[in-house]
Symmetry: C2
């Protein structure tokens, strides 16, 4: 229906086709890869990707995987992962991935190609349309749009060419500012509508500003006074710090102040672990010994980017008193009990770091003795490679700039104990905790990392640790990694099923078994890799085998996609998982019993 | 938290635990297999499956696949496919599968294990819970329940033990009556609540009754008179006939009356194609020559179970006049223009068949000459195995009682031309048209067929024809087929990508390529099969190879899971697809142009 060639721009008479406008805007932001799956309601739209120089289409095997990949991309790039799906069938398939991005605040743009405007208005019962329960009633073509309402921060239904450009800009800007998913719904006959090309000359500004600069300055001042007054200040970085692009800021804060500093499980890596003043991962009662005691004794915890979910707070066992804590959140700032709702922490933190006068910090705070932190308890396993051994091995794996991705499962509760190298980061979903997420997220993360590797002189690798049960969910995306020439290292923990669930309930129940006898080391090849050329797979059973691998520069510096099957025991659980289950299980039992008493 | 052993019943003092009540009810209906994926909010519930004798848990690789499998099960069994998922992450992953079941009216029960009642009331931010955009607001644990509202016909949130048993019964009965999806949301602390065991002594009655028996009789009479008055009556069975368990009825109607009879593309197989009076598949202008002319000349079309979507009506090109047609739908009956809303066709059709006096049918109707139907146009392909050749091969494949499953894609538009054998049926999703559906649906269908094979003396096989692009979506469920010892035959059409999309738009665009170089014949093994023992894979490129396979009794009667990779040309499209695109493309262009004129 569009007559122009696939690569020629549609710019003409000061106008540009909607599709080209949209993808030009996306490219302007610094995004080079678009993820998704084609379908007849988005094919015309996809044509415009080829008209924007250096913008690439990355087709995925299915839409849920593509959504996970877009989320992974967004977490690494700090710009929206862009996902294109088709009306209904593709859109709904992706929903759980978008929901995870919403829960953990990853920026994501979901573009849905929909039925054409006249066909919607006339309610044609074309394929993918959801009929009413009573077939005498006309179908509502907009019904799917309602289903994603709670997992997006903004959306636009582009059915009017007069407003479409502004709506695209609004949605992109909002997603970047809020670091949350947003939607664009584009009827097929809108893709070639002419929009004002001149708008493209000014770039989008998505910097975050607080409404009331006077109030903001007040808050900055009060935070600075608290810092100066403190005898024992600390910095504690949680995950939303990174999501809201404040990693560098908080690193600077830690460096400038010399305060002992901590991260949360989800925030691990935001502060450099091999700097002198890094203490450890604070996870309430489920921290390494010494960590909780020291941060809880602080009279001024600068707590950035909090996400206060069960597994990110040691089962709600944080013990930071309001009178000792300064919360710096995207939704509020709270200075020792005084709440400022609707104030975004970023501009505040920026000013704090800029205005901080190091001279005014108390000597006690600056030079506070570093607490002694005990090593993690060793848990034995009947098999040579235990969770404990794996933690040590991963500590040896990590090189500067590496990104470690850890799937929901047993090792997610062990990975807090991995010792990070310079500028390492962690990508894990310990709050939304959706399994199957990380394998496609690794694809997206690796794409994002590659886009900027040259510019940033980033030689870091992407390393995934994932259980067998989770891997079965989304395994086909291995093929897309190979197709894209990516070189992630995947440690596939073969422990015969859903071990974390066994730890929680029903260790012997067959529902915790998974599809057996998968030939894990054959999969990269089956999905298109050529062993030794663009892929490499191996199995490790002994400690020596794993050590040899990590000692092998060929493995450590490979340009191939690599999969290492690690044989582990079915009931090998990390210490923190055992403790988490004990703690949360206890809390659950208590409230269940109380509830039962009240509702006999 | 539950103390009893995994297999002992929980019946005691006239009570039974909710979990056991639920699964006992399900088993009573005649359902032997439960599909899904475990998660910590449903583990306790799953324990009760083992307490119901001969009820099996079938774990799937992921929830979307499990939903597709449950849909496939429901379409074959005509009882709800039962799907169990966990709160949020699992529940949303399955949504698109449930939506497809809703669109095409497959009975499906989606059981979601949710957070416990007190934890909901206190709004704990535990894993899987969706936070509010503003983290100062408390999360709403019920938010996911709203997302599936439009794709279910009923639901119950079981948070009260006094009403839970009645609610379970209501939801199960409604699903069976409406042949649509329904939901049960079960907080984890409800699973062990005591319900009245005595209710289980009386079975659920899900027979459909019309409210007004007098009106029903009037309708029956008027239909009988129309039949008797007709000179040229026909029977036309569409897919909802089968969904509402009226296949036997409409077969009896066809047999008793001796009227020439037809099916729709989706309804193919409902009427036996090797009976004398079967004419063909009516698909408006996109029927084989002779079909449309003859049915459109009928003065009394008994049209059962209509689903009037684009690809099931030859792009809305049905030409049945109201004054010649009797519509028999679950939502209405319409006798030659006279509409009876809210009347269900089943009891009406039953009475018509029972009361029909063959003597009163006109001789013309009973002995109407059978029209001459032209064979399908032959479309050439540069490769030996063309769509046309495949149609002929599948016609030779089919043996009595076989179930043919066809994925959305090129062959879906060819399969109307496959010549069916006795009691063959077709499972395809030509309306919701979601790719990836059929591979897991094959798993569910094969389970359902196996459950009743002995009782029904059903020796039929399950045969899937699927394109490579669709197969990539859900490929891992091959492993579950092997795990369950099933023996489907899978024809995997390797034509280098999304050919049906190429036919629609962008034949050369790279977005229509898929992940390349998959080793299709290695997959059954990679996913746990042992070649020659429980699986068999092969590639066919020539006509002779495919013919030899179909001539090989070992292949035709195998107890292994079998995968045949069929090499086909990337631009080989069946004739009906070309026509469909021409017709619908033309309609689209016309309305887009008109719309553009009205909205310049
Ligand atoms: C989509 C989804 N389905 C189900 C679950 C429930 N669940 C959480 S962890 C887990 C098991 C993970 O097993 P595996 O990946 O093998 O890791 P392991 O615990 O064995 O290390 C399951 C089923 C979930 N979190 N997300
Ligand atoms: C979940 C979903 N995503 C995308 C689509 C759009 N779509 C319809 S058919 C098709 C291609 C199918 O290709 P393949 O299975 O290889 O079959 P072929 O047409 O080549 O025979 C696609 C991508 C869809 N219908 N459903």
């Amino acid at each position: 229906m569009t007559a122009t060639s696939a690569t020629a721009s549609t710019k003409k008479d000061g106008n540009v086709h909607l599709g080209e406008y949209l993808f030009s805007r996306i490219k302007q932001l610094g995004i080079d890869n678009i993820l998704g799956v084609p379908g007849d309601f988005n094919l015309h739209l996809l044509d415009y990707i080829y008209r924007v120089p250096d913008l690439n289409w990355v087709g995925c095997c299915n839409e849920l995987n593509a959504a996970y990949a877009a989320d992974g991309y967004g977490r690494v790039k700090h710009l929206p992962g862009v996902l294109v799906t088709t009306y209904g069938v593709g859109e709904l398939s992706a929903l759980n991935g978008v929901s995870g991005a919403f829960a953990e605040q990853a920026p994501l743009l979901h573009i849905v190609g929909t039925t054409g405007r006249p066909i919607q208005e006339e309610s044609w019962l074309v394929h993918h349309v959801l009929p009413k329960e009573n077939s005498l009633q006309e179908p509502d073509h907009l019904v799917y749009q309602g289903m994603s309402e709670k997992v997006r921060c903004c959306s636009a239904f582009l059915n009017d060419k007069e407003t479409a450009a502004a709506e695209i800009d609004r949605v992109l800007t909002t997603i970047c500012q809020k670091s949350l998913p947003g939607y664009l719904f584009i009827p097929v006959d809108m893709t070639w509508q002419p929009l004002d090309a001149a708008r493209l000359d000014s770039k989008l500004d998505y910097s975050v500003k607080n409404e009331d600069p006077k109030l903001e300055n007040e808050i900055v001042d009060s935070i600075l006074s608290e810092i100066y007054a403190s005898k024992n200040a600390t910095v504690f970085a949680d995950v939303l710090t990174a999501r809201h692009r404040a990693t560098d800021l908080v690193r600077e804060l830690a460096k400038k102040t010399n305060f002992p500093n901590y991260t949360s499980p989800l925030g691990k890596g935001i502060l450099n672990e091999n700097e002198d003043r890094f203490v450890g991962v604070y996870n309430g009662q489920l921290s390494l010994e010494g960590v909780a005691k020291s941060i809880e004794a602080s009279d001024c915890v600068l707590f950035t980017g909090p996400l206060l979910s069960d597994s990110n707070t040691g089962g709600f066992s944080h013990n930071l008193k309001d009178e000792n804590t300064i919360y710096l959140s995207p939704d509020y700032v709270k200075v020792k009990g005084k709440l400022y709702e609707g104030v975004h922490f970023f501009p505040v933190l920026k000013k704090v770091v800029e205005q901080l006068d190091v001279e005014k910090i108390s000597a006690e705070s600056k030079t506070a003795a570093m607490p002694t932190i005990s090593p993690p308890p060793v848990i034995d396993s009947p098999l040579p490679i235990s969770q404990t051994f794996l933690v040590d091995s991963m500590s040896k794996m990590m090189r500067p700039d590496d990104l470690l991705i850890v799937e929901t499962g047993t090792f997610q509760f062990a990975c807090s104990d991995v010792k990070f190298n310079t500028n390492n980061s962690l990508l894990t979903q310990i709050f939304y905790s959706c399994i199957g997420f990380t394998l496609p997220a690794t694809l997206g993360a690796a794409l994002a990392k590659r886009e900027d590797a040259a510019a940033k002189n980033d030689k870091g690798r992407v390393i995934l640790v994932e259980g067998d049960g989770s891997a079965q969910m989304t395994i086909q995306e291995l093929g897309t990694m190979v197709r894209q020439g990516l070189n992630p290292i995947i440690f596939l923990l073969n422990n015969d099923g859903y071990s974390i669930e066994r730890a929680i309930h029903g260790p012997e129940q067959s529902y915790n078994d998974i599809c057996p006898k998968w030939k894990w080391t054959k999969l990269l090849e089956a999905f298109g890799g050529t062993e030794g050329v663009d892929s490499f797979s191996t199995t490790v059973k002994t400690r020596e085998e794993l050590e040899a691998l990590i000692g092998d520069e060929k493995f450590m510096n490979s340009d191939k996609a690599q999969l290492v099957e690690v044989i582990m025991d079915v009931n090998d659980y990390p210490w923190r998982l055992n403790e988490q289950i004990k703690l949360m299980g206890g809390k659950n039992m208590k409230v269940f019993a109380e509830y039962q008493k009240k509702n006999p």
